[in-house]
Symmetry: C2
Subunit: 313 residues, 2 copies
């Protein structure tokens, strides 16, 4: 299969490319390298099975031309920093919703029908229910990142209904692991490298979310694609467990071999405006398809801490 991966040099994208190439597929990575890194694809840069196109999704002509001849699009590219929307209010509109529209238009022009899309648990917003299934509604995101993802979901669904596209929409838990470039684990390690005595923790540390290891995420996306055949396939992609921010901090301290680190909480129930402090995703629909996460949330976090520490050695 010829697979076109937007954001394929990024965190999740580069892990996906490893798997796709190992499975014998030919891959084109389309990435502007704004948060993706060429070095994440080092193993394949001289492979005939990988083409890297350094370009932006906001260049529709380049996008349409490069996409020609592929069978499947995996659209992962987006601003990866949820909290940036607070200060750059057009970022998620542009790099989220509008970029997704450009991807769909390029598919339409090239008569490509299948797309896998990385949505996010943040589309649910701040909910009162404990366990969020895909049928939870209304989806009221509290971050501009979430609005961008929800806008993307709507576009995929509309192109399915109007132009016959088939789509696989995944609402991701927090994905962590090898090639991770952002998020709470990277933040904590960076802070402790600078000051190993005191760790600033945003909020009260009781924020509690599911963390999914990146290989579980990649395998889940591909499993759903081969096992679910509706026109619009929408799934939570998550483990069943969760981890608190304070527990992450404790594990980072342990894995870095530090002791007597003082945790300095900034206070409040959340890290920043637009942060959803507590949620749990119901992975039952994906489980029914035959996929389950290999790692618990705590295991995923610990593995990701080790990955990040190894990468910095």
């Amino acid at each position: 299969m010829r697979v076109f991966v937007t954001g394929g040099a990024g965190f999740i994208g580069s892990n996906l490319v490893d798997t796709l190439i190992a499975q014998g597929h030919t891959v084109t990575v389309y990435d502007n390298l704004s948060s993706g890194r060429k070095e994440f694809l080092t193993a394949h840069l001289h492979s005939p099975h990988l083409t890297l196109k350094e370009a932006d999704l906001l260049q529709p002509a380049a996008l349409t031309k490069t996409m020609e001849g592929h069978n499947l699009v995996v659209h992962l590219a987006a601003n990866p920093y949820v909290r940036l929307g607070e200060t750059q209010t057009d970022l998620d509109l542009t790099q989220g919703t509008i970029a997704t529209h450009n991807v769909l238009e390029a598919m339409r022009h090239n008569h490509i029908h299948d797309i896998i899309y990385s949505s996010s648990s943040v589309v649910y917003g701040e909910t009162t229910g404990s366990l969020l299934s895909e049928s939870y509604g209304p989806t009221l995101p509290i971050s501009l990142y979430g609005a961008g993802k929800l806008g993307g979901e709507g576009l995929l669904s509309a192109y399915a209904g109007t132009f016959g596209l088939r789509c696989w929409i995944y609402r991701f838990a927090n994905i962590v692991g090898r090639h991770g470039t952002h998020g709470v684990i990277v933040d904590f390690i960076t802070k402790l490298n600078t000051n190993p005595h005191t760790l600033e923790i945003l909020g009260d540390g009781r924020q509690c979310k599911p963390y999914l290891y990146v290989t579980d995420c990649v395998n889940g996306m591909l499993h759903g694609y081969t096992h679910s055949h509706d026109q619009v396939n929408l799934y939570n992609l998550s483990c069943t467990t969760t981890t608190t921010v304070t527990r992450i901090a404790e594990m980072v301290v342990e894995e870095m071999g530090l002791s007597s680190v003082k945790f300095a909480y900034t206070g409040g129930d959340r890290g920043w405006k637009g942060d959803v402090p507590r949620f749990q995703l119901d992975p039952n629909a994906m489980n029914t398809l035959g996929w389950t996460a290999t790692y618990t949330s705590d295991e995923a976090v610990r593995k990701a801490i080790r990955d990040t520490l190894d990468a910095n050695l």
Copy 2:
């Protein structure tokens, strides 16, 4: 109150302006007159309570400047033709989601906190359930119009969560009545004026939807605004009944005083790609707030037919 109404020269907007001015409010209409008409505001054009600004939502500087000093924004402007998205694939992205983003940015710059937004029942997409409540999910629109509206909902919700905005999101039934410029009633009357013997009906005529009279819509929007005080207030705005397309055709024929009109169905279960053929909205949440539709769906349709025939006299 100083109310800023986008699309205020349009169908629903001009009816809203009548009510707002009758209630003693001062209104600024911001409209590019692409589907709105200055004549819909004739009664107020010389009133000190109405300012008409002919400009586009895609002009952020004009928008921000004009919005200054208002207390409430009612954002109704959008492409009103659901089926256009099939051929003009950037229309609902631009005039829907991006325009809504511009409205929210202008509010943020002007420190205006309250917005009423016209979403649509089409955000639900094609559903299996019979009666759609606001908690129905996932919302998977099948038209690009629906994607634009869903993208707008997400943006309002995100600006509420991130910047403290308060929003009233209404998922409208099919709104009909005075100043209606498009939709099945106008289409049928136009066709029968040209050919009073045969009426082409898109689909099989069994499409069945709730039709809400425009004054019910206007009163519902304002009722929810004064009676619901959450940060994000999301409501279906609908009557409890529905009307089939064939029944509408029969009523148009009756009201036009025609007889022996042959109905020529184009066939298929829907009018066009992206048309949701059958749905019913649960208005229970609005009913609980103390609002109910004055007219049944059939009554609304008949009243709207008479309005349209009167307007053409």
